[in-house]
Symmetry: C2
Subunit: 192 residues, 2 copies
Amino acid sequence: MATGIGGGMGQMTVERQLRVAQDTFIRRWGEMGQTWGINRTMAEIHALLYVVGQPLCTDDVMDRLHISRGNASMSLRALCDWTIIRRMHRDGERREYFVSLGDVWEMFSIIAAERKKREMDPVLETIKQCRAMLEESALGADGAGEAEVKLTRERLAGMEEFMVVTNRIFQQFIGNAKSGLTRVVKVLLKAF
Amino acid sequence: MATGIGGGMGQMTVERQLRVAQDTFIRRWGEMGQTWGINRTMAEIHALLYVVGQPLCTDDVMDRLHISRGNASMSLRALCDWTIIRRMHRDGERREYFVSLGDVWEMFSIIAAERKKREMDPVLETIKQCRAMLEESALGADGAGEAEVKLTRERLAGMEEFMVVTNRIFQQFIGNAKSGLTRVVKVLLKAF
DNA sequence: CTATGATTTCAGTATCAACTGAAAGGATGG
DNA sequence: CCATCCTTTCAGTTGATACTGAAATCATAG
């Protein structure tokens, strides 16, 4: 009965068209996740929950994305651990539902905090250790290979400086939800 | 003959200690690369060239990282394509050498530009398409599933806003080498 | 306590990106 | 022009990671 009229979509129910739009987004989001070190399925599940904006149960997710129960269970748990989705119960229902956070800014803050902790902090720590290994006091005073040591020292110092500053920027994002972030951004954009 | 005296390092030549420090950094950098969607070997090669600060030839890289000629060749080419390392010739030598850019800020700008173009722009494009599919004009005016469509519209809009702003921030970094970037950062940090 | 339905776990399997090594393809010097 | 040395390519292999499905576990209602 209800048919779209524009955009070359031909006859399609509203439901069907909604489904297509959602699936398109989900697929693309999954692809992006992969290239940023996030497993495709997890990214897709999250995209699904985000874009539908409503609680879904495990079977909904399985059917929609064509994945196994095991995969769905483990991925949903991981997303819960990240705290970017939440478990939910419905009155009189036995099974669990899952909802995504609605605020993209908040989600990003959470993810940024976790990745900083897990991936940037250890690198910074390592760089400090490496620099310590190459301090004069640890090396003795002979001139052998001194030029090379100096070069490496400089490079490590340059990288450390970069990471310290990057960390600070991350910190800005982490400490601020939407309102704070848009303020950060306004400042940034106005200054240039 | 030359021995370190501090830090529990025991007897070690300066050369040996330099090597250890460099390898530690290289390994860590490779691990980090992986979790950010950059292949481990490429990250390691780049870390090596960066940290030694001197031109190395293919065989140097192979020996140092224990990788095959084919792998070295392809990875070095990819890094050249990204323009974060450069090919180099030495007078009277037949083989090619490779050097890393020395400025971390510049490297980061280059990488950010490329990843924005390859990974964020297409997502933004897709989101716009999805939103277009769900416009009133494309859907007809019936009320069926209208609430769900509205929800999805809002979610897509929220994500688009986020990505547009993120893109702008990337742009700030892309357009600025070290001096510009530290300025960006100063502004950011002073404002909070 | 038992029955029913939901969830988790994990050993086995599939998938795909990364890597190897040898052969083909340059380029330079004699 | 050939000989030598260096670089690139790519078919085949490896290894890491993700995924499945069925059994075990857990939770709730009766």
